[in-house]
Amino acid sequence: MPSVAFTQNLQRHVACPPCKVAGATVRESLDGALALYPKLRGYVLDEHGALRFHMAIYVDGVPVTDRKGLSDPVTGTTEIFVMQALSGG
């Protein structure tokens, strides 16, 4: 199963240790992780389910291309990392 990890900066607001969740896309995997940490949803996604403007998701070190639909494919060994975009200094 893909693994999902979150930046330490999110842990300050919502406890969200790394997890392994099923899914064939970033959306499916992220939804699995957010089901474990429901408070986290609004910190990562906006009210329409799109990635927040100042957030980033990396799939095996590569930023997702579909920030709205999160349709980027993942495999059983994929590592998904959710962090804040480095906006500003």
Binding site: L10, H13, G42, Y43, E47, H48, R52, H54
Partner: protein, 369 residues
């Protein structure tokens, strides 16, 4: 009398308490390091609310039912999903997102409206909650009003509702003020809305739009609780007053040292008494001559006193935002905070001021609790 003040800043919600006659000191901080847009106390149940703007992680709302001993994160408003392919732009052609950017005011309903809260937000959505903020509903009629699309950014890149005045005689009657988009009222709990800016003037607009409702940029609007037909507005263009329940406005001119500013508060019982913090307008936005002063009128705006005892009178460049001046329920205690982290308190209606703080983070808002 209120003996406690909450100061919302760029880096936390600070608390100050009165220690005795004319003696106040900071005594705590909540959400240290987080950007706190504003705080509100619901007088009906004493609950505190704090709106946080986490930037990367979005706007959040926290509630405390024990005066800050513990806080719980509660719900936030959700903007509706725009129609497929819809890209909304303001009248200058700039895109307006349909998503919550920031809370800009929180206002409780009347005592008879248990659990009712109103929230004004950027980019212009008005929301209400019937469960103390756990869940929120969009005021659809205002968001979908065709003239709402004429609103534009005033205090921020996107338009926003920063003032909500509920009629204490009838909670279905609400007036809101928009930067930049005028004053809007409903008589039927938000089912229908009408702009009321007759008498307002926006010299900064193109000549054809000087009197247009959408050109009006009220920076802050308040209503006298004891005489609810009287409103005061600190407008980008100056000071305006209404004595007919926000149906029309009278401009007040020739106010020294400046008619420009952001905040205004009105006495809880005397509709003729109001306070302002003047500044040089537009590109500068600093106190006139480097002197921090407060203007007070006690005669409905015919005359103003410029109050300065205890305030810095040289080399001071403190700007005071629209929610950063507050008055307690007695009408005697005032407080204001500045973008350079100073906070001052008066216990005698503004005649004398004491310095509470000089090195806080930039102050967004203050409230007595």
């Amino acid at each position: 009398m209120s003996d406690q003040l909450l100061v919302s800043t760029r880096k936390g919600l600070f608390s100050a308490r009165r220690q005795g006659m004319g003696a106040w000191s900071l005594n705590g901080v909540f959400f240290l390091g987080d950007n706190v847009s504003l705080a509100m106390q619901d007088a009906r149940d004493g609950a505190w609310y704090a709106a946080l703007d986490h930037g990367h992680f979005g706007a959040k709302l926290q509630r405390s039912r024990n005066r800050g001993a513990t806080w719980e994160e509660i719900g936030v408003p959700a903007y509706p999903t725009p129609p497929e392919g819809h890209v909304e732009k303001d009248f200058l052609g700039r895109e307006i997102p349909w998503r919550l950017i920031r809370f800009w005011c929180l206002t409780p309903g009347l005592a008879s409206q248990s659990g009712l809260l109103w929230a004004g937000t950027l980019p212009g959505g008005l929301f209400w909650s019937e469960d103390y903020g756990d869940t929120w509903h969009l005021v659809e009629a205002l968001w979908h009003h065709p003239d709402r699309r004429k609103w534009a950014g005033g205090g921020a890149d996107a338009p926003g509702i920063h003032s909500i005045c509920v009629d204490p005689r009838d909670g279905n009657r609400v007036a809101v003020a928009v930067s930049s988009g005028g004053v809007w009222t409903t008589q039927d709990f938000g089912a229908t809305w009408t702009a009321h800016t007759e008498g307002m003037r926006a010299d900064y607009a193109p000549p054809e739009l000087v009197f247009a409702p959408e050109s009006q940029d009220p920076h802050r609007m308040v209503r006298c609780p004891g005489a609810p037909d009287t409103f005061w507005v600190q407008h980008h263009n100056g000071i305006f007053r209404s004595t007919d329940n926000a149906m029309s406005w009278t401009e007040i001119t020739d106010v020294k040292p400046s008619v420009f500013g952001f905040p205004v508060v009105v006495h809880p019982k005397d509709p003729d008494t109001a306070w302002f913090v003047p500044a040089i307008k537009d590109e500068r936005r600093i106190p006139v001559d480097g002197r921090v002063v407060v203007n007070r009128t006690r005669d409905g705006g015919r005359t103003f006193e410029t109050l300065h005892r205890g305030l810095p009178q040289v080399w001071a460049y403190d700007l005071v935002y629209r929610h950063a001046l507050d008055l307690d329920a007695t009408g005697q205690r005032l407080a204001f905070g500045s973008t350079t982290g100073s906070v001052w308190i008066s216990e005698n209606g503004g005649d004398d001021w004491l310095t509470l703080a000089e090195h806080l983070p930039p102050v967004h808002a203050v409230i007595f609790v």
